[in-house]
């Protein structure tokens, strides 16, 4: 873009006012703020913004335990551990907003004046400042004017006509609204900021865990709305019940392929909504949204599915669903088995101990099975875990593998309420439109002056101007001149 801007250099007769205004109308300030914001944002990606433990680890690694703790305290105090919400970061954003707003207010009237003014025929003053011009000598004729108009029209313009003092003017312009593109873009930034503020002041974010069959009526808050007084929980004026939770794996692997919750919303005793949600597809009721986020096995209530094969007899495979602490008879034997411990997701620690990683059932599940004979005498206890299938009971000649969980899961839902989100989307939409208009449309103007001379000759003076993309317009101008020369 080749627009030249004028830095306002009026000497203040309003003293401080003009000085401050002048400061904020500067594009140099914009460049500076953008770069500062960029650099400062880097800090927040190295200093963890969500987990204080990670910062502690990093600092202790760099400075040792005592110094590390001191540095962490300093970081917390200066807001570095929550820097995107700190007063100085918000202050920088406010400065940028003021810069954008004031630049817009300062420059927009001039641009609107240009747009709203109708194009006028070419005057000598204007001609002086135009670089793109050409004189063409041609034969005078009655149809010359119409030929010129046709040539201009063929370039995609709607030519206007005027006669002044024996000179015929043909002139046309297009794309003058393209000058608005920049202002749409900048306004959109302010709209987005506004939407974000609305969300911070009145919106919230939290989570719920619903065990299959149960209903919740309050949300545990993670982010509180800044302008509402709330406790650690936000009550809902309706209930959400989880009817069923389904976990799908890829084939027989331990990788989850999908997880879905069937939810029912109960409002004032009536079931008003029912939806099966999955990741990327939330439920929305009264502007509050529930997102499928995680899941887990409800401790103490789960049952494992054991695939049991008799040693040496592959065809004897049989599945048993065994609830914790409930003895189950092993068919075809005198043994009873009881699951005494259950962990859905374990890893092996550095000292070979088993560490429970999460509540989610994965292929790395483990169970401790106690075997008794029919009189209740202890026979043996084995830890069966899929990470090491060689671990099997010694006395009982069967092979055990954990292939699934049955019984109540809880579903973990992220809950959000954001009244500003549609303002933000509007801003985003405006931004894309504004950028496309600003970059890819241009204000182009052409003028042709027809002056009749002597001996049947006429002189055509062709001039052109554009606010952007001079290179491409020069090509267009050449083509117009060539068309006129041919007439």
């Amino acid at each position: 873009m080749e627009e030249q801007t004028k830095e306002t250099a009026e000497k203040p007769s309003g003293g401080i006012h003009k000085g401050i205004w002048g400061f904020f109308t500067s594009i140099k300030l914009t460049v500076l703020l953008l770069i500062i914001l960029a650099l400062v944002s880097v800090i927040g990606t190295v200093i963890d913004q969500t987990d204080p433990m990670k910062n502690m680890q990093m600092l202790v690694g760099m400075f040792g335990p005592e110094q590390g703790a001191e540095v962490l305290k300093l970081l917390v105090k200066t807001g570095m551990t929550n820097m995107y919400h700190s007063w100085w970061f918000v202050g920088l954003l406010s400065l940028l907003s003021a810069n954008i707003a004031i630049c817009t207010i300062d420059r927009f009237p001039r641009v609107w004046h240009i747009i709203s003014k109708a194009q006028t025929p070419l005057t000598d003053d204007v001609l002086k400042n135009i670089g793109m011009k050409r004189e063409i000598k041609t034969k005078s004729s009655a149809e010359l004017k119409d030929k010129v108009k046709a040539a201009v029209k063929s370039m995609g313009y709607s030519p206007k006509e005027a006669v002044e003092g024996g000179v015929t003017h043909i002139y046309a312009e297009k794309g003058k609204y393209s000058r608005l593109g920049v202002y749409i873009t900048h306004t959109s930034v302010l709209v987005i900021f506004m939407g974000a503020m609305i969300g911070s002041f009145w919106g919230y974010k939290g989570y719920v865990q619903i065990v299959e069959g149960q209903t919740v009526e309050a949300v545990t808050l993670l982010n509180k709305p800044l302008l509402r007084k709330v406790g650690p929980e936000m009550p809902l004026d309706f209930g959400v019940r989880c009817d069923k939770f389904v976990l799908k794996m890829y084939g027989t692997s331990e990788m989850p392929s999908d997880y879905l919750s069937t939810l029912t919303v109960v409002d004032a005793g009536k079931e008003v909504m029912n939806k099966t949600i999955r990741v990327n597809d939330p439920l929305e009721y009264k502007s509050i949204r529930f997102y499928q986020s995680s899941y887990g096995v409800q401790p103490g209530m789960a049952a494992v599915t054991l695939r049991v094969t008799k040693d040496g007899d592959e065809s004897s495979v049989r599945d048993y669903v065994v609830r914790k602490d409930e003895p189950v008879h092993l068919e075809g034997t005198d043994y009873f088995m009881v699951v005494t411990q259950l962990a859905p997701d374990v890893v092996q620690g550095p000292n070979n101990q088993l560490i429970s990683e999460s509540d989610q059932f994965k292929g790395s599940a483990a169970a401790s099975i106690r075997f008794m004979d029919k009189s209740g005498q202890f026979v043996e206890e084995t830890m069966v875990f899929n990470l090491d299938p060689r671990q099997q009971p010694r006395k009982v000649p069967y092979n055990f593998k954990i292939i699934g969980y049955k019984g109540p899961y809880y579903t973990g839902l992220q809950v959000t309420y954001d009244p500003g989100v549609w303002v933000v989307w509007t801003g985003c939409f405006l931004m894309v439109i504004g950028i496309l208009v600003a970059f890819f449309t241009f204000h182009k103007r052409v003028w042709v002056r027809i002056q009749d001379g002597e001996k049947g000759q006429a002189t055509l003076l062709v001039a052109g101007a554009t606010n952007k993309n001079r290179h491409a317009f020069e090509g267009e101008f050449k083509r117009l001149a060539e068309k006129l020369e041919a007439k």
């Binding site: 873009m1 627009e3 801007t5 594009i27 140099k28 914009t30 460049v31 953008l34 770069i35 914001l37 960029a38 944002s41 880097v42 927040g44 990606t45 190295v46 963890d48 913004q49 990670k54 680890q57 990093m58 690694g61 760099m62 995107y84 974000a196 974010k205 890829y250 084939g251 990788m255 989850p256 392929s257 999908d258 997880y259 999955r278 990741v279 990327n280 597809d281 939330p282 949204r289 997102y291 986020s293 992220q414 809950v415 959000t416 954001d418 989100v421 933000v424 989307w425 985003c428 931004m431 894309v432 950028i435 496309l436 970059f439 290179h471």
Partner: protein
């Protein structure tokens, strides 16, 4: 039945790009039109093989199972391959439009190195893996494609800006120090990673530079840093000769400046749409359109950078060399947004590579590296005459 025919086409593409790169460099050295034609032909052939590789991988993923099939942009290998593909795509358009082959020598190495890295690194999986539930959405397609097209445009701008600086800076300019410094840092890293591969058989990720700068032996570390400084010094002395080679091509400063600007003018809207679609997707998946996650933040940092570039062009004195420098710095931000975040930092986006905690020592060495670079550029600045374009 193995599903890796796509890998064979991937290697065909990689080596063809290597050939193209060699021919573009020869074209610059000898200014022979026939060599130039071979270079372009190699580019087209490599691009064809690459397109087949990606298409085949998409098809093969569905052969593995209807629910496993997905667009091949879901892990580090796939996305880097797609990224290189978009770079070549945009490059061929620019080459045709401006009828000039000289940029090829600067763009082709980027594509080749990207593919070579993910092809050779043993810790980067080339297997087709099923998607985790969070990625099962059509937003994956549009978010990744627009973001990568944006990155590709910025990559082209980087190459063209580098060329502009080579032609337009004198040895005592700060800008000369800047581009020779960047090249020096790049060569040093490539050589060091090569040493990693040869001596330790490990490449990248948390093992990066373990054979040299992060070596157990202090002597090896010292030698590494001395080599880095040495490479910078050598480049400072000799790079001026590149200027005379390149000046022979009809790549005028105005044209280079224009191409550099126009590719950013294409990349910026694409990146904007990429960030916005990411936000919309995040809102559909997690409930927040912006969480200041390192990946999100770095994409914003890149966006702010290019916004600064676009605004700076309005201010007198920010065309030419300064704009070229900003364009190159912006691309470094792009690289960090794409790779650095996944490999070095933790967060929601670390689906691919190592993911997990901040690789502290890697960050530390990155920091020292950059400090040396900054000092080098500052030295050039302070010894420069006030002769900045």
């Amino acid at each position: 039945m193995t599903f890796d025919i796509n890998i064979k086409f991937f290697w065909i593409a990689t080596f063809t790009y290597l050939g193209a790169m060699v021919f573009y460099l020869a074209y610059i050295m000898f200014k022979n039109e026939k060599i130039g034609l071979v270079a372009t032909a190699a580019t087209y052939f490599g691009f064809l093989a690459h397109t087949v590789a990606i298409g085949l991988r998409w098809w093969e993923s569905y052969q593995m199972g209807q629910e496993i099939g997905h667009i091949p942009v879901s892990n580090l290998f796939e996305s880097m391959s797609f990224g290189a593909w978009t770079i070549i795509l945009i490059y061929t358009i620019v080459e045709i439009k401006y009828k000039n082959r000289s940029f090829g020598a600067f763009v082709m190495p980027v594509a080749f190195l990207a593919l070579a890295y993910v092809g050779v690194a043993p810790n980067i999986s080339k297997d087709i893996e099923p998607l985790v539930p969070a990625l099962k959405s059509y937003w994956l397609h549009i978010h990744v494609i627009t973001s990568f097209l944006g990155y590709a445009a910025f990559a082209i701008s980087f190459g063209v800006s580098l060329m502009f600086l080579i032609i337009n800076t004198k040895q005592k300019d700060a800008a000369y120090g800047f581009w020779t410094g960047c090249l020096g840092a790049l060569f040093t890293v490539i050589i060091a990673v090569g040493v990693d591969a040869v001596t330790l058989q490990k490449l990248g990720g948390s093992h990066m530079l373990e054979a040299t700068f992060r070596s157990q032996s202090v002597a090896v570390q010292l030698v590494s840093w001395l080599c880095y400084i040495g490479i910078l010094a050598v480049l400072y002395m000799t790079s001026i000769r590149l200027k005379y080679k390149l000046a022979q091509f009809e790549a005028s400063s105005e044209m280079l400046d224009e191409v550099s600007y126009k590719t950013i003018a294409i990349g910026f809207p694409l990146l904007t749409v990429g960030i916005i679609t990411g936000a919309v997707w995040a809102n559909a998946a997690w409930g927040t359109y912006w969480g200041w996650d390192p990946k999100e933040t770095w994409s914003l940092i890149t966006w702010l950078f290019y916004a600064a570039y676009l605004h700076a062009r309005y201010t007198r004195g920010w065309r030419g060399s300064r704009a070229a420098i900003l364009s190159m710095l912006g691309f470094l931000a792009v690289i960090f947004t794409y790779l650095g975040v996944n490999l070095l930092l933790s967060g929601l986006h670390a689906y691919g590579a190592t993911g997990g905690e901040v690789d502290k020592t890697a960050v530390f060495f990155l920091f020292v590296f950059c400090m040396i670079l900054v000092i080098y550029i500052a030295v050039c600045w302070f010894t420069s005459k006030s002769d900045r374009k």
